[in-house]
Amino acid sequence: MGVKRLSQGGLVDRSAPLNFTWDGQRLQGLTGDSLASALLANEQWVLGRSFKYHRPRGVMSAGVEESGALLTVGEGDRKDPNVRATTQPLFDGLVASGQNAWPNVRYDVGAINSLFSPFYAAGFYYKTFMGLPPFEWGKGTWLWMQYEKLIRKAAGMGTLSRAPDPDHYDHAHLFCDVLVVGGGVAGLTAATQLAAQGVDVVLCEQDVLLGGDLLNQPNSTVQIEALTAAARDSGVRLMANTTVFGLYDHGVAGALERLPETASPAAHQVRQIFWTIRAQHTVVATGALERSYAFGNNDRPRVLTANAGRAYLNRYALRLGESVVISGNNDGIYGTAFDLAKAGADVALYDVRAKLPGQLVKDAEDAGVRVRSQSAVCNVAGHVARAVEIGTVQGDGFAIERKRACDLVLASGGWSPVIHLLAHRGAKPIWHADLCCFVVESTQEAISVCGSAAAYWQTEDCIRSAEAIVPNVLASLSGESFAGYRVGSGGHEAEMTPLYEAKVCSRKLKAFVDPQHDVSASDVRLAHREGFVSVEHLKRYTTLGMSNDGGKMGNVIGLALMADALGKDIPDVGTTRFRPPYTSVALGALSARSVGKHFRPLRRTALHDWNLRHGATMTEAGLWQRPWYFAREGETITEAYIREATTVRKTVGLCDVTSLGKIAVQGPDAAEFLNRIYINGFAKLAVGKARYGIMLRDDGFVMDDGTTWRLGEEDFFMTTTTAHAAKVMVWLEELLQLRWPELKVHVASVSDQWAGVAVAGPQSRAVLEAVLAEPDVVSDEALPFMGVVETTLKSGVQVRIARISFSGERAFEIYCGSGYAEHMMEGLWAAAEPLDGCLYGLEALGALRIEKGHVTGAELDGRVTLEDAGFAKMASTKKPYVGNVLRQRPAMQREGRPQLVGILPKDRSGKFNAGAILCKPDQISGHGEGWITAVTHSPVMGHWIGLGYITGGAEAWQQKAAVAADPLRLGNVEVEIVSPHMYDPSGEKMRG
């Protein structure tokens, strides 16, 4: 008994052996082998343990439909679980191991489950452990949650590495006129003929080799080479090892390309590419998959589908057994029998049909195959198959007639066209009763189908079907409606007889429908008895088709068994549809380069590197990174920001404010436009002046604030908050394009053009004077509060300066072209440092603005009215503006809305947090009376302060205590409610 590698034939290179490791054993295969064929060549039959019962499992197929040989490939951070050994190309140094077993797949302790398999029917765990009597009579899931952890451990597939994936993946875009999916004879023929007509064709084939089922047939190399060369010569772009896993709207396909693997990838080597392919027309030439049927112990190692036996023989030069039993219901099995017999195996073929294909039988018998009709394999004996029980047809079942020793069982229940991609587009599968399979007869989209995917089984028929669609595709490309396509009628000599299960009277056999999830024929019948008769319920109750093969093998059989139980025809029971992906796609490929520090875009100000060189610790502000604080040696963040804020109030500080949104508003109607979007007047703003403005949404709530500078009669420079920059820009574009197209205004984001620095503190003017070519332009007379000037640095670099203050001190914002930002900052810092100035970050900026009661995004959170934030007096009564009508709604004008306030701890040594709820001391519950938006330890006051909103505002809370309730963090702290303007309320300092 044994597997034999033939000395001739096959598509393996005997002169190029490859070393690999399986469960610690060092083994050898050949170049051209799949991992499955290499393992089989080494007589490795038990490769896995099943999901639930831990039954031994081995290779069941030779392709993507594999249900048994799911392995873990790779080690450490390159560990990849649930890899189908049948589609994994062998490479030198490959390391594979078994999964769902302990200590290994050959001797698995978990196999004890198999002894209790009669109890483990569908739904066993839920029925038994949920609401477990007498502890949780019919209710509760606490115990279940405990059991579930154990159950999950015992049942399952491979485990992921928890380490980050070290490999590189790409997401790429590809465009073509026609995408042909499938590189078999039909796909290659259609692609070649289309390309010959000048059409730009891309052909994707999931296998590493082109040829489709020709690869499994003997002596086909010349034909495959001719087909491939013709395609290449006519200009088809051929992509092997690329699976089109999904079809989406408007001709978009998702594809996964696997690049050649090595044990130790080079530094920048890409492992897989996720392609988004956009095609005008798609040709589905995806072939068909052979299914098995349900018979006793049909999941044992050494039991495969019939064509898989042929694939291993002809493609991999592996004769998998000496004594072979083949059982099935269609002509396809005769080729396998013929080839194996020619290769020296002892072959017995059991055909369930009464009427056999005469010529095929004769050919097979001439080659030494023993053929019997009206009989089939009904049961398999042995841990690994070593004998079969043969039954003959009796009524609607079988009667066991004999037992036969063997070392290989090959079974076929028919072929299922791969219609997955069509199903992704919503095409309805139709049951083809003669061929016992689902087909798709039409689609509404620019998709054609040919070859076995359209139910043509013979090579010549596949070629003809491919040729037949070419005019349709060309018509479709030139915008004409096309005729759709024709479904084949198989093309076998003798008709099929349905064979979904070999039922034996008075015998209970463990016959699997979906081996990957251990769903058996009896589970389907149990589902029927318990009323789960709809296809959707059947699926969810038994988990049929929910494993990683997505029901490629089991769905049709499950459906047929349910139809049988219900006494209905298959189409009356329903059908299953398929969702993408056709085969699994690694998350790594979908995320591609969007990982680690490239998970999302990082936006750097022009001073990013300068800030880092000067000791900044950065923090995130949206996509930006901004300086958080500049700690001196040994300083904590608190010490650093208190020093920075104190320095600003005493001398001068410099802060990178480049991240503020900046928008150029230009044109003859620019002033009118601003007048309409801001609540306050802008029409009469003088050139050389800036004004603080608030804009509302249509619904009357506050949207954003900022200063807008008038640089010329028709030229404004608007600043927005960092957070709302993009939103405001989109809003302005929308207003101009949709609402007021008559206004002659152009807006453009200049956020990237200008880098900005806030120069704040009593010495700020001295700093500017030191760097400007004409220092006088920033004197108090030349540049009063809210004044704007465009001037130059001593080096000649142009800058624009406004005297505006966020900190409450005398302060300026100075902007230059981003490329000169470091140069400008060097000059400013050289002037500020000797004045005992400092660099300050976001934390100090926050402290300064909270002391001053200036609002940011934390306060303008989209729920706030002008009155709430204390801006109502700014609103013009003489002009309309966006939001001015809806802001008058009664609910927004009612008394007692929460209003912006300052918050101090009653006990000044106390502390509270942003996010705390403000409550009445005797009513600490629910939503309370308000909330805290921002807190800081105030350097000026020497204690914690905060901003927030509370019902009625500061006036309503004079002499009244409130509590900042923070039950999960600091607990309850008694607070005092004051005006938000806690520092220099009259504004003398910033105007001074």
Partner: protein, 171 residues
């Protein structure tokens, strides 16, 4: 330009491999925005001042002027063209973009790993221009003969170029 610091100063540019060459270019960028009523006049003026045979179609570029939107042009050299103030607004955006030029046989492969634009000759030939996205960031790509110009917003340029160079090393 003595004190000018590029957004790509810390990037390993130029990049050269057998199949790719990526280098940074410094160029001016004036945004010219016409009004619908004055578009014809602006088109004519721009064509004359740029020395073009005929006005540019939208999403096309030639010489050193690109028509990025139906009403908007980028003028890539200093000084800005002289136009009637009533005909268009002119805005200096020279610091707002970082620009790299990509050439070599793998340039389309590289770009199509970054941007979802059909770069086949039949769809995107000499002079073609597209505004598109690269890792969620708006960018502009322009083809000049067999060379591609990639305009990136300055503040995202380093982030995008890191990706570009990583991918380039794998091609």
């Amino acid at each position: 330009m003595d004190n000018f610091v590029s957004a790509l100063a810390s990037m390993a540019l130029p990049f050269k491999s057998e199949r790719l060459h990526i280098r940074e270019v410094q160029c001016a960028n004036y945004l010219i925005s016409a009004w619908a009523a004055s578009l014809g006049e602006v088109q004519q003026q721009i064509a004359v001042q740029a020395g073009l045979d005929q006005p540019l179609a939208p999403n096309m570029g030639a010489g050193s002027v690109l028509r990025v939107e139906p009403l908007k042009y980028w003028w890539l050299q200093a000084p800005a063209p002289t136009l009637e103030p009533a005909a268009a607004t002119v805005l200096d955006q020279s610091h707002s973009k970082a620009v790299v030029i990509i050439e070599g046989e793998a340039s389309k492969d590289l770009l199509n790993r970054c941007i979802p634009i059909d770069l086949r000759d039949s769809a995107f030939n000499d002079g073609a221009l597209a505004s598109t996205v690269f890792h969620h960031v708006g960018v502009t790509v322009w083809r000049q003969a067999d060379v591609f110009w990639l305009f990136m917003p300055r503040t995202y340029a380093q982030f995008l170029t890191e990706s570009l160079l990583e991918i380039a090393q794998s091609l």
